[in-house]
Symmetry: C2
Subunit: 434 residues, 2 copies
């Protein structure tokens, strides 16, 4: 019977003398007084395997060890396997080019990403993606509980949804198409279909040349769209519901992974207490906060990364939470489909979490005649958007939605300095492999 | 209080005289003796709203109707809303270019797909995607219950995984990359990372020029990979577990949607009874079946669509199930990474469901030296696959996996003639919109 690392202590405590098998990777080997201590890594964790004599195993070799489970307060997890037989399942070459068992904090980001097939074997790095898996599951399961339907839409589109810039071009048989920046129009189409409530988890693409710790050219977008809303405040309520569930699930399922990063998720109260601040007021508050922190305090012109950092710092001080919703963005800062609040402002919002924008969303235009009026102001022509416009011409309720950047929320939960660390195989301007 | 169509009967049965609101789309209007019967469609279904006088509502207009819920055995669902006030939320233009409320069976496929934003409003078409949502959820939740981790990998790769043909080229800044045909190498990398068990739900791309009822150029691939297996039989067991759960969930959550298509999912017993037939034997059985059906009975050279149809017909007769696993494909029919059974055959399999291949999978090479030997036979060079090979050079257990085509299993559950019907926004050689 195979026993996983996390199960070993319970088997040892049962005092069974039956032999068990463990399988996994040689994470570390220590020799001491004629005995070898092999740290065996499997999908559940790491456990100590004690082998008589010299183990003679290269790091990362996959082995099977058969023996008796025994309690040992000094061993990791309080138990060890006293091996009677160790077999090599797949040997690892001795010239390991990446130190799998070292703390990645001491290793440069490029080295980690260049060697991803090996660096992801490190338990601390693997923990990032265990948590990401929980985030995706919790996002989806919460929305299903609220009567949302999951959809999968094409990532190959014949034109841009946000104005046409920043698109990757694809050679598609005898024509050219583009990689979708978001499922924006498809989400709206499906709300208008009568499904009313939809979500999608899928890649999104931005052909932007930036190389910053907050951008990826390919990312996983957690997209939501909902019909019959009044304003962006309904969406903020929905996002609070999602985040509460996501954080609770990560806390419950990934306690070990959080501990490896010395990280904690916000409490349900912190999500509930997240303030909603108007765009202009947020800029003022950020300037006041900067003055308080003796950083000058000059007012910014827009919500930039520094404002995002400062507004969370203000919120933590004033409301005990570093989740903030900024709403009522100016019309010129938002895409054409954003619903106006008045002549200057829109029913839109961003969610800022621990100093980083993780969500952009808002109510959308749903009235055909209003859309036709708005298009020319954004340099768009109705004839280029006929598929899209047909959704509104034939009955579309008030609706809106948002997207959570999956890598960004992962990054901020764990306190990773760079969003690329939260992408398994990140793509940036220079990185297209592995 | 808003009441959904599916809730109306219960509200009516409670004999409450409180006024309720219904919101939705005008699906159909019938006038009779000074009264209008408006069929209102919302995310839950359709309900009858009775309005005094002429309703004067165009089809697909979004309305709010306030009134009293009343039992009426003659109405759909046994209840109706007797409206006192009807308001237009969003009017639909009267020139509806697609007949939303007509049975799509009478409408050509191109018309349906060209008008997707409207055709998807049809309840029978919408049902396809409600079921697809359940399939994705059931696939994921079953695997999570078996200790699998969900992963999201890049769809932009620097080279082909299956030999380099059939790839879409992407202009990526100053270089060219390709759309991934599958997450094959990434799945294997993550198994070897020690996660052991991973799955991914993501788009996959094939730049093949075929235009058949069974092919899409972009599809949703339900991918699985698992470590520490012995042969493809372990994978077939896993797929049986997945399919049993998927079918049970669809039966439980989508009874109405199945009824619209007059469709039924296989029983758990039918999945359990699915035979495993060797590749060569499958071809023989298909020939015998063809003879029995008086269709000649000439032996095919490979598993082609006709053999797939015939083997399911044989299985239904012999085993009472039209799910069949074909294993032990010849080495020349499988990619280089497939693990050999002997000189001629591989530890590989296909799942054939209701006459269509829905899955391809198998055990993979995991021993570095064996991979190096195999590559030249497939015209591949180790130096072009250095990232991939590093996975095996440093310890990778025996493993394997498979992928289920999400649109194909949806198609076969519902008996759709063309797989494009099971894709929300299908892409084929000529179709890149909507």
């Amino acid at each position: 019977m195979r026993v996983l690392a996390k199960e070993l202590a319970a088997v040892a405590a049962s005092k069974s003398v039956e032999k068990v098998e463990m399988k996994g990777w040689v994470h570390r080997v220590r020799e001491l007084g004629g005995v070898s201590f092999v740290m065996l890594r499997d999908r559940s964790g790491i456990a100590q395997v004690v082998v008589e004599g010299k183990a003679d195993l290269t790091l990362e070799t996959v082995i099977s060890a058969v023996g008796v489970a025994a309690e040992n307060p000094k061993a990791l997890g309080g138990a060890e396997l006293r091996a009677e037989k160790v077999e090599v399942i797949a040997a690892a070459a001795p010239d390991l080019p990446y130190p799998v068992n070292q703390d990645p904090d001491k290793i440069g980001l490029d080295v980690i990403l260049d060697n991803r097939p090996l660096s992801v074997r490190n338990p601390k790095i693997r923990a990032i993606f265990k948590i990401q898996s929980t985030i995706i599951d919790a996002f989806s399961s919460y929305l299903r509980s609220q009567d949302f339907t999951e959809m999968k839409t094409s990532k190959l589109i014949s034109g841009g949804t946000e104005g046409g810039t920043g698109l990757f071009e694809v050679e598609y048989f005898d024509t050219k198409v583009y990689l979708a920046q978001s499922p924006q129009f498809y989400k709206q189409t499906m709300v208008a279909s009568g499904l009313e409530r939809v979500f999608e988890v899928a890649p999104a693409y931005r052909a932007e040349k930036h190389d910053t710790p907050r951008h990826l050219n390919e990312y996983v977008s957690l997209d939501v769209e909902m019909g019959f809303i009044e304003s962006e405040r309904d969406l903020i309520e929905l996002e609070k519901g999602i985040l509460t569930h996501v954080f609770a699930q990560v806390a419950e399922k990934n306690a070990e992974e959080l501990a490896l990063w010395n990280a904690a998720v916000p409490t349900a109260k912190q999500v509930a207490d997240a303030p909603i601040v108007g765009h202009d007021r947020a800029i003022e508050l950020a300037a006041e906060e900067a003055a308080l922190q003796k950083q000058g305090g000059k007012k910014a012109f827009e919500i930039n990364p520094e404002v995002e950092r400062l507004i969370c710092s203000w919120s933590m001080r004033e409301h005990g939470t570093d989740l903030v919703f900024i709403n009522e963005f100016p019309r010129r800062h938002r895409p054409f489909y954003t619903y106006p609040l008045d002549a200057a402002r829109t029913m839109s919002f961003d969610a800022i979490f621990r100093g980083l924008e993780i969500t952009t969303g808002g109510r959308r235009h749903n009235v055909y005649a209003e859309l036709l009026e708005v298009l020319p102001k954004f340099g768009l022509k109705a004839e280029d958007l006929s598929d899209y416009l047909s959704v509104f011409k034939y009955g579309c309720p008030p609706h809106g939605g948002f997207a959570i950047g999956c890598e960004r929320i992962t990054q901020k939960i764990l306190g990773l300095p760079n969003v690329k660390e939260a992408s398994l195989f990140p793509r940036d301007r220079k990185r297209v492999r592995p």
